[in-house]
């Protein structure tokens, strides 16, 4: 069986869509980037992935997220989710739409069709398939896009989701962010096959893309969406990237990988840097604007960081969510 190789564009998917995009499109992508970067230890690689797909999947397709969402924070950010609401969820204060019930970064937004994140990994994969099936039945011309990491792809739920999507012909994009590590577990200990682009084993058309190339990710997602709606079938996109940051604030990754390795990706293959260089080469951006925008972003983040929980808010928000009784 042919393995999926790193391709610019696999021939069997037809002619490749148009190349790099124009100025107006780049700006929406570039603007959230410093905001994401400043928020801390998150992998820029995953930011590249975050910013790519949303434009490809024209809102408001439902999004089913796996945890470790800071990269996918970009997705929500792209859909104009206010910084204040991100912060509110993290602090669990009275403004948290999730009512303070979950740990930080478990975002959710009904209006933006972003299903609330939960901690168990890969559980959202078969759920996303069910949602896609319902969308198909409703003739909604909508797809569901489901994000997960290469570690979560080892879960039985991932296998279940892929198989159901294929047999039940669901309009869904499975988007795997392969960033090399599941906490401390490198991919060599996660799988032995050809990455997560194992869709062909299920009858799912799959593509592997450079996850740090925002245009590649955009093009792949856009085409996958178009075909998923038109043909009622699933697509699997494996975006190769690298997690520069630690897994979380409780992790020190120097315990399991070398500083040199991290530096390579940080300096040589950083998706934000790559986009910036591209824009600068086109004369759409320069160092002055970069400086100004970073300053502005920092100010914005600081302004929203003063959202400590209030006693009144936390107690009121603790009603049990047992509906319909």
């Amino acid at each position: 069986m042919a393995s999926v190789t790193c391709a610019c564009w696999p021939a069997h998917l037809g002619p490749a869509p148009a190349g790099p995009l124009s100025l107006p499109v780049c700006f929406p992508w570039s603007h959230p980037a410093p905001l994401l970067h400043r928020r801390g230890t998150r992998s820029p690689g995953r930011k590249g992935l975050a910013l790519g797909p949303p434009q490809g999947s024209a809102p408001p397709d439902p999004l089913s997220q796996q945890l470790v969402p800071p990269p996918l924070t970009g997705v929500l950010m792209y859909r104009d989710y206010p910084l204040e609401q991100f912060m509110a969820q993290c602090y669990g204060n009275v403004n948290d739409p999730g009512k303070g019930r979950q740990m930080p970064v478990h975002y959710g937004c009904k209006e933006r069709h972003f299903v609330t994140i939960s901690s168990p990994l890969a559980t959202q994969i078969p759920q996303a398939v069910g949602a896609a099936y319902a969308a198909k039945r409703a003739n909604a011309n909508r797809i569901v896009i489901c994000y997960f990491g290469e570690g979560a792809a080892s879960e039985g739920d991932a296998h279940a989701g892929f198989n159901f999507a294929a047999t039940l012909e669901c309009p869904i994009i499975f988007f795997c962010r392969n960033n090399g590590y599941a906490i401390s577990t490198p991919t060599s200990e996660q799988y032995r096959g050809d990455g997560i682009a194992r869709g062909p084993g299920y009858g799912i058309l799959s593509i592997r893309v450079d996850g740090n190339d925002v245009f590649a990710v955009y093009n792949a997602t856009k085409e996958a969406r178009r075909r998923a709606v038109a043909e009622n079938q699933p697509f699997l996109i494996e975006a190769m990237t690298y997690r520069i940051g630690h897994h979380s604030t409780s992790d020190d990754s120097s315990a399991y990988r070398s500083v040199d390795e991290v530096n390579y990706w940080d300096k040589q293959d950083h998706p934000i840097s790559r986009l910036r260089h591209y824009m600068q080469s086109r004369g759409w951006w320069d160092d002055e604007q970069e400086k100004a925008w970073r300053k502005q972003s920092r100010k914005k983040v600081r302004a929203t960081s003063c959202c400590r929980p209030t006693p009144q808010g936390t107690l009121e928000g603790r009603r049990l969510g047992f509906g319909g009784q």
Partner: protein
């Protein structure tokens, strides 16, 4: 020993005359070799199938329109038929449901409603429930079948960590309330470890879901319809031994039996007996035995909803705080459910009656 056996034999005899079938004499196998009628000797296969209970139909209900004779699986089919007719978003899925299901609960529905609404899934319980949750999150009605309750465990994570917590953890932004999981449940005479389980206890302490077990066709249809319409994910366990054995007049039109309401099916003043599913018929018989032999008046309660359960009906405060004996629990042994030893394993009427007698004499 012989005298005891003879005495027991008399009881068996009276039970069997009342029941109408001579073969019921040997149902528990305890008197094998003592009092079998000649016709049953060598009839080993049929003896193994004798039930430990007698299904007692309720009197026909007049309030719900025209009724039809249905067994329990037909009552389930009727409920599903009503649901798919009323709710265009409703879909039924699981292993083998397309041809009608291994217990015939979905016969005719695919032809009537279409292959996009009644369909098979791959053999994967975690996928079935996860997929069902996803459908429900969009607001459509999802009716998932798990082929045997014994196989629900791969879906335990999706049920407990996802379905039950969906509304709470999202601050009510999202929910999967329109999900119902139905599954054949309980002992059947020959099911052994993996076709006999009653796993409701594993779910009974999980806030966010409802768990329901009916005792009869009429109850099954009304409770299942309530589960499907309930705004919370529900698990509906169907006693498989009753699929054919229980026959009643069941209304053709849809009707609801409320969840979280136990039913006192017999008033009594001395002892309260609580059960659900098949066991309700066992304790009904125990109540009769107690009245007849001991002059003890038993209140018989069918719990119906295991979670959230009707604590008010079961524990009427003035009584519960004045119990004259410890509460007795009669159930299977702390072993996996055996095959050939099922008659010894199950909490039959003799074990229940024995517990009742000890309680009275406490």
């Amino acid at each position: 020993m012989a005298a005891e056996a003879a005495a027991a034999g008399r009881l068996w005899l009276s039970a069997c005359r009342a029941g109408g079938h001579w073969r019921r004499l040997c149902s528990a196998g305890l008197l094998r070799g003592f009092l079998q009628p000649a016709s049953a000797v060598g009839d080993a296969a049929r003896r193994r199938q004798l039930a430990h209970f007698t299904f007692q139909p309720d009197p026909e209900h007049q309030d719900y329109g025209q009724t039809q004779k249905m067994n329990l699986f037909q009552a389930v089919t009727s409920a599903l038929d009503n649901s798919l007719a009323k709710d265009p978003t409703a879909v039924i899925f699981g292993e083998d449901v397309a041809f009608g299901g291994v217990f015939r609960c979905t016969v005719g529905l695919r032809d009537k409603y279409g292959k996009d609404r009644v369909f098979n899934t791959p053999l994967c319980e975690q996928g079935i429930v996860g997929f069902g949750i996803g459908i429900a999150v969009t607001g459509a009605t999802a009716i998932a079948e798990i082929q045997f309750a014994d196989y629900i465990f791969p879906a335990f994570d999706q049920i407990v960590n996802e379905a039950a917590k969906y509304r709470y953890r999202s601050g009510d932004l999202f929910n999967c309330g329109s999900l119902t999981i139905r599954s054949p449940w309980g002992c059947v005479g020959h099911g052994a470890l993996y076709h006999s389980q009653s796993p409701e206890a594993f779910f009974a302490h999980c806030p966010g879901i409802k768990v329901v077990v009916p005792r009869s066709p009429f109850q099954a249809k009304g409770l299942l319809l309530s589960c499907i319409e309930d705004k919370n994910p529900c698990i509906f366990f169907e006693p498989k031994i009753l699929y054919r054995a229980a026959v009643e007049q069941v209304p053709v039109e849809p009707y609801n039996i409320p969840l979280s309401q136990a039913e006192i099916i017999q008033e009594g003043s001395d002892v309260t007996l609580v059960a659900w599913g098949t066991q309700v018929h066992v304790i009904r018989e125990v109540a009769s035995m107690a009245q007849e032999k001991l002059g003890v008046s038993c209140e018989v309660i069918d719990l119906r909803t295991i979670l959230p359960w009707d604590v008010d009906t079961v524990c009427k405060e003035e009584c519960f705080l004045n119990l004259e004996a410890p509460i007795s629990r009669v159930c299977g042994y702390d072993t996996p459910f055996p095959h050939i030893f099922e008659p010894f394993y199950i909490p039959d009427k003799w074990k229940c009656y024995d517990a009742l007698r000890k309680m009275i004499n406490y």
